[in-house]
Amino acid sequence: MINDTLLMMLIVGLIVSFAILGMFIWGAKDGQFDDGDKMMDGLLFDSTDDLNDAVKKEEKIEESKKGQKKSESPE
């Protein structure tokens, strides 16, 4: 019984930690860790304004991509 529990804990532990590793790799491949200094200092800028700005940035990039496609499609 105790052996089974140990095995289960081992498996669950490994799955969880591999999932976290996977997320880390995802972030790293996106270039989030390319700039070590910015990454560390970026933690300091976490006010509501800063987070809103980050979302706006993303939206702006998305929008401009869409806008471009629309203007191209009629031609």
Partner: protein, 812 residues
């Protein structure tokens, strides 16, 4: 009265000079402008983010932004993205902290037409994508300038992108390895505890299973680099360290697999991950070093102008440098950089040649004198005839040479590398022999596994030979000792960029020193000061005249004067700068009495009909009021106090000390004899220096070169180990392997001492690890090593090496 902080840049100035703006204080118009701009745009949270840090005041940039919209600029730097936007890579100047990045990104994102702007903090590079229909590049540059920064374009080369990619790749591989090692360590604690307290076979299998799951990605994903390295080594018929690491790890892994699936004994998945992780971290640090070298090269390249103004039949036009031919007439204004070599045909002025010669005193040039690219025109309008094409010009050839030497930096061989070759072959042979002998002759001396067949038994013993000989200790021998050596050196103010330079430092037999800035302090100091008339009003005039010039001589005398007298500035009239001679000015006092003030060298005095006899080998500065000389100064470059000590110590340790300088022979011989250097070469240009170093290396010498200027950078890059002074130019620091943070030559002496000591310990470590193998391998071959002993001895050998390396620290 007192000192006040500027509300924008946070630099502290005297209250008098500040611009008052209600409650606020600013040090200059620029700071004031930026402050109000940020306030009105609602960006003043910048100051909260900045905290108590200081930034540099906004730069006053006057050059045309129109050039950013020209065709030749666009062809060189601007790329089109897939979405039909434009993209450019910029280096932003003036970034000090994360708040600066925040401000720049925020302002750029808020600008209509800019799609994305991403600034890298470590190297100040920015990638900007914008819509060309909505905003022009010149407007973007102006936007950056308006908040107090400046931007240069640079050509994001293929090498750069590759460096970013390989850095990221190594980073992920390393993190996977570290992640797995940490988890395996936890499992190992349980396993080894079980070793002593007893453990059920079932649980042991679970632990092995967990270790197997963790070790597999490390070996095949993170360790892929070593397989690749080993493969390329084999292709070139070299058995390198990569081969030893990968073969050792693979065989240990296979053996552990066998244990996992039913074999008796201990698995060694933990050792597999440890070896890969340790060696990989070392490799990652190497990749980082290469990346920063690429960054700095981009920085100098970005300061080279792209275009020049040429005059053709009286008409001025701007041409890209590549299109300028020999014989064209180029015009440069004051403050501009000469970008192509030539000969002056009209105009005269002083030129800052410090980037080529290292000498800080401007050089006066007139008609028919040669101009070199990379030098800066200090003060006048000059036209010159091009004598060399851009490709052959001095500046471009230095950059090209640097690129070449960075990619072909002499590889220093690890001692362990030489050993690993023979080691790998012998271990593999021994293990194979063991297997054959056990299998065919059935010698059975040791332990007995129930039911194991003769093949199995032979296989286990053969593998245990490899496991015992696992290159852990051998692979650790050099790096761990170097690491401790490096941290000892760092305490003395010596920054070694890579561990392997410690070894080369210890083996060096030639020390090459640059003169200006390395042996000497590189700044003119007042040696003798004679003031005939100590009237404070007259000295005030001298002070005011000196203050009006940025020439190093004036600056140095000014500092010296301020140490002795309490002086105030007066308003001088019609101040005139006489090229390379000095300055003249007029002054009217309260009684409307006019004073003629002349300050400069003997030649200037003669021109103004002031007769004064003065004989000196040093630079001379005289000061006269109304044709009467009232003060004389002699200036010379000072030799650093510890230069002699270093030279003596190096010579006592059997090193040849050579001095190279761009200065003339008489100065060179004076300095050389003062510090005790027998060999010196004078009148040598940057490329000559590099050739000299190459010649020494061709003779088989191991050369340590120390220098400080851009003029030394090519020579530094071609030496075996290069040492840069901490106050050197960026590029010089980046091509060097060692940086002397405190500029003290005493530290350089320490560097030799500690390196030699470290090297001694490296050799000891190698001996320990080899001796250990010499004892254990025969035991393993005889089948006498029980699993417990194997597990312990594996860590023991590594521990021995680490403990021995710690001894580098003891005794100063």
């Amino acid at each position: 009265m007192g000192n006040v902080k500027c509300d924008h840049c946070h630099l502290v100035f005297d209250d008098d000079v500040m611009i008052k703006d209600n409650e606020l204080n600013f040090c200059c118009k620029g700071c004031q402008g930026v402050y109000h701009l940020l306030k009105s745009d609602g960006l003043d949270s910048f100051y909260d983010k900045l905290g108590n840090k200081t930034i540099s005041p906004p730069l006053d940039v006057h050059d045309d932004v129109i050039r950013f919209d020209t065709k030749s600029f666009e062809d060189t730097f601007v790329k089109n993205t897939e979405d039909d936007y434009k993209q450019i890579d910029l280096i932003i100047e003036g970034i000090h902290c994360a708040a600066c990045i925040w401000l720049n990104e925020k302002v750029l994102y808020n600008t209509n037409g800019i799609i994305s702007a991403d600034i890298n903090f470590s190297n100040n590079k920015a990638k900007i994508i914008w819509n060309d229909e909505k905003i022009k590049l010149s407007e973007i540059i102006l936007k950056i300038r308006s908040i107090g920064y400046n931007a240069y374009a640079y050509d994001a080369t293929v090498a750069d992108e590759k460096a970013v990619k390989s850095k990221r790749d190594y980073f992920i591989r390393m993190m996977v390895a570290i992640f797995a090692s940490m988890n395996i360590m936890m499992l190992s604690v349980a396993k080894y505890t079980g070793f002593f307290t007893g453990i059920e076979d079932e649980i042991k299998t679970y632990i092995h299973l967990g270790e197997f799951i963790l070790a597999t990605p490390v070996l095949f994903y993170s360790g892929w680099i070593f397989y690749k390295g080993a493969y390329f080594g084999l292709k070139n018929k070299i058995l390198n360290m990569d081969f030893l690491v990968s073969s050792g790890a693979t065989l240990t892994y296979i053996y552990s697999l066998y244990i996992l699936f039913g074999g008796k004994g201990e698995s060694y998945f933990d050792s597999v991950t440890m070896i890969i992780t340790f060696v990989l971290v070392g490799k990652y640090l190497e990749v980082l070093g290469k990346k920063s070298a690429v960054d700095t090269l981009d920085k100098i390249k970005s300061t080279i102008p792209l275009e020049a103004t040429i005059v053709e039949n009286g008409v001025k036009k701007t041409l890209a440098l590549n299109n300028i031919n020999v014989g064209d007439i180029v015009e440069i204004r004051s403050g501009e950089k000469v970008c192509i070599d030539g000969r002056i045909i009209s105009g005269e002025g002083s030129f800052d040649e410090s980037s080529l010669t290292g000498e800080s005193i401007p050089i006066y040039k007139q008609k028919n004198d040669l101009l070199y690219s990379g030098t800066i025109n200090n003060d006048s309008l000059i036209r010159y005839e091009v004598t060399k094409s851009y490709q052959d010009s001095t500046l471009n050839s230095i950059v090209t040479l640097l690129e070449d030497s960075l990619s072909s930096k002499p590889e220093i061989e690890y001692k362990a590398n030489e050993i690993s070759k023979g080691f790998t072959v012998s271990i593999l042979t021994l293990s194979l022999l063991t297997f054959l002998i056990w299998y065919f002759f059935g010698i059975d001396l040791g332990f007995d596994y129930d039911g194991a067949s003769s093949f199995e038994k032979s296989f286990i013993v053969a593998i245990s030979v490899i496991v015992i000989a696992c290159p852990c200790a051998l692979a650790l021998a050099t790096p761990i000792a170097s690491l401790i050596g490096i941290s000892e050196l760092a305490k003395k103010g010596l920054l070694f960029k890579e561990a392997k330079f410690v070894e080369t430092f210890a083996k060096a037999d030639t020390l090459v020193l640059d003169k200006t800035g390395t042996i000497t302090k590189g700044e003119l100091k007042v040696k003798k000061m004679r003031i005939m008339d100590k009237n404070i009003h007259k000295l005030n005039l001298l002070y005011s005249l000196l203050d009006a010039s940025t020439h190093p001589i004036s600056q140095s005398i000014k500092r010296e004067l301020l140490k002795k007298y309490d002086l105030t500035l007066k308003d001088l009239e019609s101040v005139k700068n006489i090229q390379a001679k000095g300055m003249i000015a007029k002054y009217k006092n309260v009684d409307d009495k006019l004073f003629h003030i002349v300050g400069g060298n003997l030649e200037l005095m003669k021109e103004n009909n002031i007769h004064y006899n003065f004989d000196s080998l040093n630079s001379v500065y005289l000061f006269a009021i109304n044709k009467r000389v009232i003060a004389t100064f002699e200036l010379a470059d000072e030799i650093k106090e510890d230069a002699k000590e270093l030279v003596l110590d190096a010579q006592n340790n059997g090193l040849d000390v050579i001095m190279l300088t761009g200065d003339n022979n008489s100065v060179a011989s004076a300095v050389a004899s003062k510090v005790g250097i027998k060999n010196y070469v004078s009148n040598i240009d940057p490329i000559g220096k590099a050739d000299y170093i190459k010649k020494l290396r061709d003779e088989g010498k191991v050369v340590v070169m120390a220098g400080d200027g851009i003029n030394d950078s090519v020579a530094l890059a071609s030496s075996n180990v290069s040492v840069a002074m901490g106050n050197s130019a960026d590029i010089t620091i980046s091509v060097s392997d060692v940086v002397l943070l405190n500029n003290s030559l005493k530290s350089l002496k320490q560097a030799f001492k500690i390196s030699r000591r470290t090297y001694k310990f490296i050799k000891q470590n190698l001996f320990i690890s080899l001796f250990y193998n010499l004892v254990t391998i025969p035991l393993a071959m005889a089948g006498l090593v029980i699993p417990l002993v194997a597990a312990l001895s594996m860590s023991l050998s590594s521990l021995l090496v680490v403990a021995n390396s710690m001894r580098i620290k003891i005794k100063d």
